[in-house]
Amino acid sequence: MPSVRNFSLVKQERLTEDVFQMELKTTESLSEYQPGRFVMVEIPNGLQQLRRPLAIAAVDLLTGCISLIYRVVGQGTEQLAKLVVGAKVNLLGALGNGFNIQNFQVGDQVLLVGGGTGLPPLMYLAQTLGQQGCLVTTMVGFRTKAQIFGTQVFEQAGQLQLATDDGSAGKLGNVGTLLNAWKMNNCRHVFACGPLGLLKAVQQRFASQSVPVDLSLESRMGCGMGVCAGCMVSVNGGTLNQHICQEGPIFSAAEVQL
């Protein structure tokens, strides 16, 4: 059951020039805050009529904190970046289906592929899978070295493969370069999140393979609650027949039409 509540901002950190991490604390249960799910964040100045969807980037059950990592791209995220410690942030969540990882076992090999603001949900996923004893390989692409964030999490959770468009860190190239070079050995599952181009590349790369691939999609969202039909996607041959906010944001690459 989604709930709407005020969290208090306990940390606001700048990760790169335009990417920020907020740590938000609550005294209530976080049991529904699973990897791959998201929250709808109220923009606190009261001007914006719509909440903004942000993926859950980390959950610390001990401190009752969740992390949101966001890039400042417009008016809403600009407002978020202005908040200072102590501010109240109203979240509606947790929403969406989340990654289906219940049946993973120790030693399972898993590949994560991400870029841009697609990384936050993968960070939480990597951490969780790592703790479950899976062998997690993560491929991440950035434009340039200065834009890198979140890579420690992936290194801690397993193995990190990094590419930058200008070669300033990791391999020269992008996630596609890494994917092409990659040898698949006993990979049990692929998860990807990032820009549309990345998702398409992943979908294509594994199209003829038997390994299950899950893609986490983004969309402008009105409600996040399956009401406004502002986030539809075509699945299983239907036309705009599923809500990214409700049946998603995670869809099987074999079923979703990008």
Binding site: Q49, R220, G222, G226, M232, T239
Partner: protein, 316 residues
């Protein structure tokens, strides 16, 4: 005030005995089958207006369909719905099974008179719906009924045709994108409407400076939310002075004070749409706030307020 909350909030409209006047606006609560419905008990609502039903399923407009503007939201969903058959077989039975006592208003849309009539007939005959809301005002599809909503003669003819096949009251939902809202209201009254529902969205547009194209794939979209409230209040006020039909008011309502403003304008019930996107608990909140707001402004009960406002109009 020795009256119970129920006595203070209840309102009566054709086909609708409501314990309070508050209901979700069409398209902003699906068929009650959404996640907001997990957050509060829908039995608290006065009624529910369900998403537009068309004769055939509709996939709606391409994405993106939704954009934010100052004080409002633009949408171009385009009447996406599973069609009246699925609505009758699945959506309504599920809704009635869960909330047998919740009054249901079905929003009916179409392209031509014939499909409006057939959709209305089926919904009316189903026994699962208390009233129809004839959507002659959707701005988001080429043939979404807007032609009916902007021409008095077509509006009257369509209303009359639907009335003929409907055994339940018919409310006609008016478009604000017209020169003379009173003329349209009078025409649908002449067509036999039992009530009015107003307003639908204002036709708007937003352009993206990066792509230099409209933000919405459809180009234009319907503007809703606080930005349109002054236009809604004005139109409801104008119409209620000239037309004797009860009005279900909507357009930018997000608080108990807004609800009372709509009653002062001439409403007999109030629907809330866009506000839920911001405040998921807007329905229980507004319903809970109403009695004390009414007391603050010396309003005993809504039924009397409706009569008072209507009689004031007639004097003018």
């Amino acid at each position: 005030m020795s009256q119970t909350t129920n006595q203070r909030l209840s309102v009566k409209l054709p086909g609708l005995n409501l314990k309070n006047p508050i209901m979700p606006a069409s398209g902003c609560f699906a068929f009650g089958d959404n996640r907001y419905a997990e957050m509060f008990d829908l039995n608290e609502l006065g009624a529910i207006i369900i998403k537009a039903a068309t004769l055939e399923p509709r996939v709606g407009n391409p994405m993106p369909r939704i954009a934010e503007v100052p004080g409002g939201v633009l949408n171009a969903v385009g009447l996406q719905n599973p069609g009246v058959e699925v609505i009758l077989k699945e959506k309504l039975p599920q809704l009635k099974a869960k909330y047998p006592n919740l009054p249901v208003i079905a929003n009916v849309a179409g392209t031509q008179e014939a499909d409006y009539v057939e959709t209305a007939r089926r919904l009316s005959d189903s026994g699962m719906v208390d009233a129809l809301e004839l959507n002659i005002s959707c701005p988001n599809v080429k043939h979404g009924g807007m032609q009916f909503g902007t021409d008095p003669a077509s509006a009257q003819a369509l209303t009359a045709a639907v009335k003929k096949v409907s055994s339940i009251p018919v409310y006609v939902k008016l478009s604000p994108n017209v020169t003379d809202i009173v003329a349209i209201a009078q025409a649908v009254a002449a067509g036999g409407a039992d009530g009015l529902s107003m307003i639908n969205t204002l036709l708007g547009m937003r352009l993206d400076l990066k792509t230099r194209q409209p933000v919405l794939a459809n180009g234009t979209g319907g503007l809703s939310g606080p930005a349109i409230k002054p236009v809604a209040v004005r139109m409801i006020y104008q119409v209620s002075q000239k037309v004797d039909l009860p009005i279900i008011a909507m357009g930018g309502v997000s608080s108990a004070a807004d609800v009372l403003e709509m009653f002062l304008a001439g409403a007999s019930a109030v629907a809330i749409g866009t506000a839920i996107f911001h405040d998921p608990l807007v329905f229980p909140n507004v319903i809970a706030d109403l009695p004390s707001k009414m007391t603050e402004f010396g309003i005993d009960n809504l039924s009397d307020l409706i009569k008072e406002v209507r009689s004031r109009r007639n004097e003018n």
